[in-house]
C-alpha cells in the first residue's frame, strides 16, 4: 500500500505532540447555527417559483450565491472555500470523509461548465455552513421540493472542505477527446499501471470527477455529497462513493498521530501543512512542460486507493510479527531502531543476529523517503468499514488518499515496491478500488472550480 498507511518516520520533533491544540470546532448554540444555514433567504430576494425555476435550469446557482455571499461567519467551524489552493489538502485533517467519484453523463461542454459553476456555488455555501440554493431546505415554495435536503440544518459548518479533481476519462474516452479538452490532459495524469496483487473492482475505480468531502461531522460530509449529486442529476452520476471515519494521518503538527485499523500509529512521517518548502517540492503541481497543462499550476494530484485489510488474520498475528512487519512499536510508535515516535529510523543499526533492527521487508523501511529517492507525499487517508463481507469478516481497511506533485515519480514507484516486497501488503492487504485525479488550484471569488481548464 503505497505510501503506506503507516508512516515512514523521519519527522523532526518540533512541537509535534501538543494534544491540547488539536482543533475542535466550537459548538455554537442551535439558533445561530440554524440561522447560518438559512442565512441566504433574505439575500436571495427574488424567492418564490422564479428562483426555483432558475436554479433548476442551473442558471442562478452560481451568480446568485456569489452575489449574495455574506462574509463567512466568524466561527472556527468554517474553512474558507476560496483561495489560491483548494481546501482539504493541507487543511488539518478532519475526522470524517465522504468521497464520491462521478461520471459526467452529458457530452456538452457548456453543460459541464454549468455543472462546475453550480457545484462551486453550492460548495461555497455548504462549507460556510449555509444551505444550498436560494431558498434552502425550508424556505421555498410549499409545493416544490426544497432546494437543500436539510439534514444539516441544525449543524454548524463542521470544518467542511470540498476538494474537486478530474479523472483522465473526463479528458478522453476511447481515445477521443471530450468537451473540447484535447491537449489539456496533463502528462502526469497517467493511467495507473496494474500493481501486483491488485483486485480492483470496476465499480470502485475511476471516475470523471472526484469530490472529497471532509468534515468533523459525518452528517455534514454526507449532506455535501448528497446535494452535489442532486445538483448534478442529468449531467453527472455517482460512480462510486466511500465513507471514512477516523482520519489515519495528520496534516498538521497540531494534530496527534492517529491509528489505523491495525492498531498502529499512521502518518508519523507525513508531510505537514507547516512544511511549506517540502509541499512545494512534493505536493503542489507546477505548470508542466506544455501550454495545455499549465492550468494545473498550483494544483495537485489525488491518489485514492481502497485498501481492504484482512484484520481478522492480523489479529491472530503475534505482536512480535506485527511490529516486525511495520518496523515500529505498537504502543509508542517508535522505530524499532530506538527512540520515540518522531525519532528518525536508523536503518543501519543491527541486532546480534546481524540483521537490521528495522527489517529489510518492513513497511517503514520500504515506504521511507530514504528508500524512495527522497520522494514524499501528503497522505490524508481514512479508516473505513463497509459492513461485512458475508463470511463473517469486516469489509474494513484504509481508504488511502494522497496528494502528490506528480504520480509518476511520487506514487507509482513506491507502490510498485510495496506491492512487490512489503509482506504486510502481500499477506494482509488487498487493493479493491483506485482512482487518480488532477486537482486544479483553488477558486477565486467569482470564479469556478477548474476554470483554467476551460480558458
Amino acid at each position: 500500500m503505497s505510501g503506506c498507511p503507516f508512516g515512514g518516520g523521519q519527522q523532526p520533533p518540533a512541537d509535534a505532540h501538543s494534544e491540547s491544540s488539536v482543533a475542535s470546532p466550537e459548538t455554537t448554540d442551535g439558533v445561530t447555527r440554524r440561522l447560518s444555514r438559512r442565512g441566504l433567504l433574505g439575500l436571495a430576494g427574488v424567492g418564490g417559483a422564479g428562483a426555483v425555476a432558475g436554479i433548476a435550469a442551473g442558471l442562478l446557482g452560481h451568480d446568485a450565491i456569489a452575489a449574495a455571499a455574506a462574509p463567512p461567519a466568524a466561527n472556527d467551524s468554517v474553512i474558507p472555500f476560496f483561495g489560491d489552493r483548494q481546501a482539504g489538502i493541507t487543511t488539518a485533517a478532519q475526522d470524517r470523509l465522504h468521497m464520491a467519484a462521478f461520471d459526467v453523463t452529458t457530452e456538452d461542454r457548456a453543460a459541464l461548465i454549468e455543472l462546475l459553476k453550480d457545484w462551486t456555488a453550492a460548495a461555497e455555501a455548504m462549507t460556510a455552513g449555509r444551505t444550498t440554493g436560494a431558498t434552502g431546505a425550508v424556505d421555498g415554495p410549499y409545493d416544490a421540493p426544497p432546494e437543500d435536503t436539510g439534514e444539516a440544518l441544525d449543524l454548524d459548518a463542521g470544518r467542511l472542505t470540498l476538494t474537486i479533481g478530474f479523472g483522465a476519462s473526463l479528458f478522453e474516452k476511447d481515445r477521443k477527446a471530450r468537451f473540447g479538452l484535447g491537449g489539456k490532459r496533463p502528462d502526469a495524469l497517467i493511467d495507473l499501471p496494474h500493481f501486483p496483487g491488485d483486485a480492483l473492482e470496476p465499480a470502485r475505480t475511476g471516475g470523471d470527477i472526484v469530490v472529497q468531502a471532509c468534515a468533523d461531522d459525518p452528517q455534514v460530509a454526507v449532506h455535501a455529497i448528497r446535494n452535489l449529486a442532486r445538483i448534478g442529476f442529468g449531467k453527472a452520476r455517482v460512480r462510486w462513493s466511500q465513507l471514512g471515519f477516523g482520519r489515519t494521518s495528520s496534516t498538521s503538527r497540531t494534530q496527534q498521530t492517529p491509528r489505523n485499523l491495525f492498531g498502529f500509529k499512521d502518518g508519523t512521517n507525513n508531510l505537514k501543512a507547516e512544511d511549506t518548502a517540502l509541499l512545494d517540492e512534493h505536493v503542489w503541481a507546477g505548470a508542466g512542460s506544455r501550454a495545455g497543462e499549465a492550468w494545473m499550476a498550483g494544483g495537485s494530484y489525488l491518489v485514492a486507493r481502497r485498501i481492504r485489510m484482512h484484520i481478522e488474520i492480523w489479529d491472530r498475528t503475534s505482536l512480535r510479527e506485527q511490529e516486525g512487519l511495520i518496523g515500529r512499536t505498537k504502543g509508542e510508535g517508535a522505530p524499532l531502531s530506538g527512540g520515540k515516535e518522531f525519532t528518525a529510523p536508523n536503518f543501519a543499526i543491527k541486532g546480534n543476529d546481524g540483521e537490521p533492527l528495522i527489517g529489510m521487508d518492513s513497511h517503514v523501511r520500504l515506504a521511507h523517503a530514504d528508500q524512495n529517492d527522497g520522494v514524499r507525499m501528503l497522505r490524508r487517508g481514512y479508516n473505513y468499514t463497509d459492513g461485512s463481507d458475508g463470511l463473517g469478516h469486516l469489509d474494513a481497511g484504509l481508504f488511502f488518499i494522497a496528494f502528490v506533485k506528480d504520480p509518476r515519480t511520487h506514487y507509482v514507484p513506491m507502490q510498485m515496491t510495496m506491492a512487490k516486497q512489503d509482506v504486510l501488503a502481500l499477506e494482509y492487504l488487498k487493493h479493491t478500488g483506485s482512482g487518480l485525479f488532477a486537482v486544479p488550484p483553488g477558486v477565486r471569488q467569482g470564479g469556478f472550480i477548474g476554470e483554467g481548464l476551460f480558458a
Binding site: 500493481f195 491488485d198 543499526i349 541486532g351 533492527l357 502481500l426
Partner: protein, 398 residues
Amino acid sequence: MPGLTSPKTRRTAGARLAVVAATAVLPLALASCTDNANANATGATDGPIQVTSTDTECKVSAAVAPSGNLTFAVKNDGAEVTEFYVLAEDGLRIVAEVENIGPGITRNLVLTAPAGKYTTACKPGMQGDGIRADFTVKDSGKQATADADHQKLVDTGVTQYTAYVKDQTEQLVAGTREFAAAYAAGDAAKAKSLYAATRMHWERIEPVAESFGDLDPKLDAREADLEPGQKWTGWHRAEKDLFPPAGYKALTAAERSAISKQLVADTGELSTRTRTVELSADKLGNGAKELLDEVARGKVTGEEEIWSHTDLWDFQANVDGARIAFENLKPALEQKDAALAKDLDAKFSALQAELKTHAKGDGFAYYNELSKDEVQQLSALVDALGEPLSKLTAAVVL
C-alpha cells in the same frame, strides 16, 4: 497463496523465524499466557518487574519474585542496542532472553520460572558478560513444570514433521512430472484430472515451500499477482490454459512445453532445497496458523483457483498441513495447555467433517457449485479454528 512475489521478502521472514527458533524461549507478552499479568501480585512489586538497561547499569525493580509466570518489562535507557537475560544460578545456562532492544524501547520478557536462584543480566552493545545481579524466585505453590521431557516431545514432533515434508515433496515431484508430461503432450483431459490432486502436495507444505522466496512466485503466482513485465510460469499459468475463460487464446504446443519443463525444473529445485531445511517448533506452529490464514484469505473465497474452481482441494490440503503440524506438537502441547489441545482437536474435526460433506468421488465439488450458505459455514469453521490455532506457538514454545 496470496501474492508472494518477492524473494527477498520471504527469505527475510524466514530468517526472522530462524532467529526466534535459536533461542529456547519466545519472549513475548501474550495474553494467552495464564496469569502473567499478575505474576508479581504477591511479590515485592505489582505488575511486571521493571528493568532499566543503560550503558553502565542494569536496574531491576525487584530481586525476589514468586514462582510461576514472570514478566520483566525491559526498558533500554542507553544509547546502544541492548539485551536482557535471565540465567540459571550457574550463570551459564540461559533460561530466557529478550534481544535486539533499540534505545528508548521497552520489551516484555515473559517466562515460567520455578523456585530457585537466578542471575539477571543486561548486555548493552550486545557484547561481553553483561551487567549481572542475583535474582531469587520463591516457591508460591504454583510450580512450573520441568522441561527436559517437554523438549524431547517437541523435538520428536519436529522430526516427524520434517519427515512429512520430505514425503510430500517427493510425491509432489512425481505428480508434477506426470502432470507436466500430459499437459505438454496436449492431453488436456488427463492434465485436468491431475491438476488439483497434484497441487495438494504443494498446498500441504506451503509455508515451507514459500520460505524459498524465489521459487514460490515461479511455481504458484496467480495472474493478479504479477508485476508488469514479469514472466508468468507455474501451476496457475497452466490452469488458465486448461480451464480457459471466454475469449482466451490458447497457448501453443511450444509454449505449453516450455511451461511444463519449467514447472518440473522448479519443483526439482524445491525438492533439493527442502532436504536441508531446518524446522523448529515455532515454525510448525506458525506454519499451521499460516495455512489456516491461506484458507481464510484465498480458498474459502474462491480466489486461488479462479479458472479451475478446485479451491476445495487446496482447502483440504492446507487443513491437512495444519493438522499434521498440530498433531506432531500435540504431546508437547498437552503438557503445557491440555485445554487448548482439546479445543484444537474438536475444531479440526468440525472443519474436516464439514469439508467432507462436499467430497465428490476422489475429490470435491467445484467452488462455484457451493451455495452462499455453504461457503459461510466453511468460513465460520475456519475462523473458529484459526483463533485458537494462533495460540499454538506460544503455548508450546513459551
